[in-house]
Amino acid sequence: MKPMVVAVDVHKHFGSLHALDGISIEVPHGEVLCIIGPSGSGKSTFLRCINQLERIDGGAIWVDGELAGYRRSGESLLPLSDKEIARQRLASGMVFQRFNLFAHLTALQNIIEGPVTVRKRPKAQAVDEAMALLERVGLADKRDAYPSELSGGQQQRVAIARALAMKPKLMLFDEPTSALDPELVGEVLAVIRDLATSGMTMIVVTHELGFAREVSSRVVFMDLGRIIEEGPPQEILVRPEQARTRDFIAAVLS
């Protein structure tokens, strides 16, 4: 089976800043990959390149076997249209650090928006599925609440349900708990943990090292736009080889 994500020598610049400096990685189906690293190391940028919220300027990324953002024609790569990119994005679901729930829609409407508008599903069916998802994240009673009426943890759980409603093959989490009050982190991690055990392929950027150790099959440490070290969580988080990884883990744990 083809890997879910293949990145080959990916580069991304913001002006003179080299945010991604040759990232290469393969993520097989069903893997839960955690990315850790200091602030500004390019973790978010890499996730955003995978679902094409940023355009890469070197290398290539394949998601579910499809070359992201380009079509190959002979020896040249032609950029895809907005519409084709939107279709490619259906393969992945994204959960943002700041939730980004649609502020003018209720929890339920947030979840059915994609299925109804993009996937053209009948509304009644979308509502049934959305209610099942709300049940799964423990928020069935909040179906008619607007995002501004929900706590951070509840908003993030609705955001996860919204992403799942599109039936993605890959879930991308960008520091899903770092905007939350400490007592709300647990409820969100519980939902992600549940998802991990269900066999979903996931890439999770996180500072929760305990969580990374518990759910991930592999941990990647990034710094300055490069992958410094990768391996099973017991090795990277407990016996890192690189000094930079050790320093980072020590700093997070202190």
Binding site: N51, L53, D82, K83, A86, R87, R89, L90, S92, G93, M94, F96, R98, N100, L101, F102, A103, H104, L105, T106, E113, G114, T117, V118, R119, Y146, P147, S148, E149, A159, R162, A163, A165, M166
Partner: protein, 303 residues
Amino acid sequence: MDVKVATAGTDDAAHTSPYSIAHLRHVPQRHYGRWLAATLILLAFAAIVKAFAEGQIAWSVVAQFFTVPAILTGLANTVLMTVCAMLLGILLGVLFAVMVMSPNPVLKAVSVFYIWFFRGTPLILQLLIWFNLALVFPTIGIPGLFEARTVDVMTPFVATFLGLGINQGAYTAEVVRASILSVDAGQTEAAKSIGMTRLTALRRIVLPQAMRVIIPPVGNEVISMVKLTSIASVIQYSEILRNAQTIYYANARVIELLIVAAIWYLVVVTVLTIGQHFLEKHFSKGHGERSAQRATAPAAGGA
């Protein structure tokens, strides 16, 4: 400081302490200035009312002409033009705002030019150009499809409609653009992440939220538009002011007919202001409602 606090803490010194003031009486502040201002204003108001009551205004004439057909037709034309021109203005405003923000440089240049041109020339000049378009283009049409004499097409209604609507569009475009920028970029990213194209995200997610910011300024512009339609009298569009003038040219009741028109303008503007209030409420979903629900929540809990 420490010494004084210590004194206040001593029980038997309660009445001598500078901090024991509970026995003192609160006297409401006296607003002499307000009373003076109110008296002066009331006097001035009474004088104005008296002047109008005793002045050369035949109020019976005002009443008599308030609902004559010419005035009511004028009123209908004013309202019709306000609605049509404003709809065209909003349509063009959204279109050009989206074009200004488009990554396509041609679309962007066209809309920058549009906004520059129509904001940069007086409205009355634009109306005169539309109305006199026949001088430049004797016939207009789409070759092969239809063709007509420009004077037949450019009626006062059409010229006013185009003049006011297109001019309004240039202003509304700026309002819409600002309101789109006011919506957090994260909303668009979330919309894209569930597979929406740029335009679908704009239509389904960004514009509905931008409405909250658009409505107050556009509400103001609708109210301006009601009154702006009166300048169309220069190209013979029979809105309410022009019809009032036509009547007073014949019967010389100038002030009475101007008062009739003024009252009708105030009626229309009042109705619109109430409508704007309800629109604002509708589009503040997810924002304004929060405080409303918060306010009622304790009551519900107590019941």
